[in-house]
């Protein structure tokens, strides 16, 4: 074991620095290009894998589904497993369906509004310039990362930190990591991302 320890430590340190995030300024050309590309993006769709970690559990809660976005402000966010859950956003209107039933919420509307702002903001890039968050930018060989911390006290009660990662190639959304005030982490991974495709209006209006 004593012989293996240095090798193990070397492996761990290599893995830790493989990401090698370097801080970038808001005016860095890569960030300017990210803003430009996201602003010009007419549509995007892909698969979602959401992993919720609990500080006191070994198991993670995994939800899977897909999303579709079309400019301006049209979003379908759908989980198929373990519960069917669909959010439809069309301009300022928002509809929800859970397990085959359209839901009306009262008490959690404020939370849903914030969820909407975060999801849409991460997809269309508007969260980069959202004055409610203090933003820091990082980059490595393959990715760009936005580290956002809410400034508003009410928002801080809902979310502690948001980390959004984009692939440098094509500036495609790769993952979003949300840290709750309780310290629990929700990691959303995006795969099979396709941009610039025609998405029918019904996707954003019909469950």
């Amino acid at each position: 074991m004593s012989r293996l320890l240095p090798i193990l430590l070397l492996f761990l340190s290599t893995a830790m620095f493989a990401q090698d995030w370097k801080p970038l300024t808001a005016t860095d050309p890569t960030i300017a290009k990210l803003r430009k590309d996201l602003g010009a993006m007419a549509s995007i769709k892909g698969n979602i894998r959401q992993e919720k970690s609990f500080a006191f559990l070994d198991d993670k809660l995994v939800s899977t589904g897909y999303f579709s976005y079309r400019k301006e402000n049209r979003l379908r966010w759908q989980f198929d497993r373990p519960i069917e859950y669909i959010i439809l956003i069309k301009d300022n209107a928002m509809r929800l369906r859970e397990a085959g039933e359209e839901k009306q919420y009262k008490g959690v509307n404020r939370i849903l509004r914030q969820v909407r702002e975060i999801i849409l903001g991460c997809i269309d890039g508007s969260i980069i310039d959202n004055a409610n968050y203090k933003a820091a930018f990082f980059g490595n060989a393959t990715s760009l990362k936005l580290d956002l911390q809410p400034k508003d006290r009410q928002l801080k009660e809902f979310i502690q930190r948001i980390e959004v990662e984009f692939a440098k190639e094509g500036n495609k959304l790769r993952s979003v990591m949300l840290t709750d005030p309780s310290g629990d982490i929700t990691h959303i991974h995006f795969t099979d991302i396709r941009t610039g495709q025609t998405i029918d209006e019904a996707v954003f209006t019909d469950f």
């Binding site: 009306q104 919420y105 008490g107």
Partner: protein
């Protein structure tokens, strides 16, 4: 050395033997689980997930999360009392939280680990309530909860599949349009 390990394993086994209950645990000590949860109040409902950890020392930790992953509530039951670790402002009403705490203790039959609870066989006295446990084929079937004035207060129902796996547990309140339904995630 063998003698020492034998004594040690016996010491570990003793509390488990002493605490064997006629109706088995919903979530045994040392186990974790995530349940699909539905809270219903009047015509509105809220779905999400309830993560539960029952530690070996009978500390119970629960966390309720929305489907989008937002943490709404996290509490720990330890030494006979609940401690809130995090409560989202939209849920932070004293009456509601206390009701949830009692419901969770009932759903998981965890009141039996409260030193203040009194065991009278199928009848338990806990927290100014009498709880009648109905079992069938060695499995929990239903809890009837009555107030100290013998008025029905809550009912908890348990459903199992053919293989004996718990499929659903639901607590309903007498005279109050509030219920919690939990279904283990497969």
């Amino acid at each position: 050395m063998r003698l020492f390990s034998l004594i040690f394993s016996l010491l570990l086994a003793l509390p488990a033997v002493a605490q064997q209950l006629p109706v088995p645990e919903v979530l045994p000590a040392g186990k974790d689980a995530i349940y699909r949860a539905e809270f219903k109040h009047l015509a509105t409902g809220m779905n999400g997930f309830l993560a539960v950890s029952h530690r070996r020392n009978h500390v119970l930790q629960v966390s309720f999360n929305s489907i989008m992953g937002t943490n709404m509530l996290e509490m720990v039951w330890k030494n006979g009392r609940w401690k809130k670790k995090y409560v989202n402002r939209s849920l932070n009403r004293r009456g509601l939280i206390e009701m949830l705490q009692v419901d969770i203790m009932l759903l998981f039959l965890h009141f039996r680990h409260d030193p203040k609870a009194e065991d009278r066989g199928d009848l338990w006295l806990w927290n100014k309530r009498s709880i009648h446990i109905e079992s069938r084929d060695g499995r929990i079937d239903r809890l009837h909860v009555k107030t100290k004035k013998h008025l029905p207060s809550r009912e908890v129902n348990y459903s199992f599949d053919a293989a004996g796996r718990l499929t659903e547990m639901k607590v309903t309140h007498a005279g109050r349009p509030f219920s919690i339904t939990l279904q283990p995630l497969k």
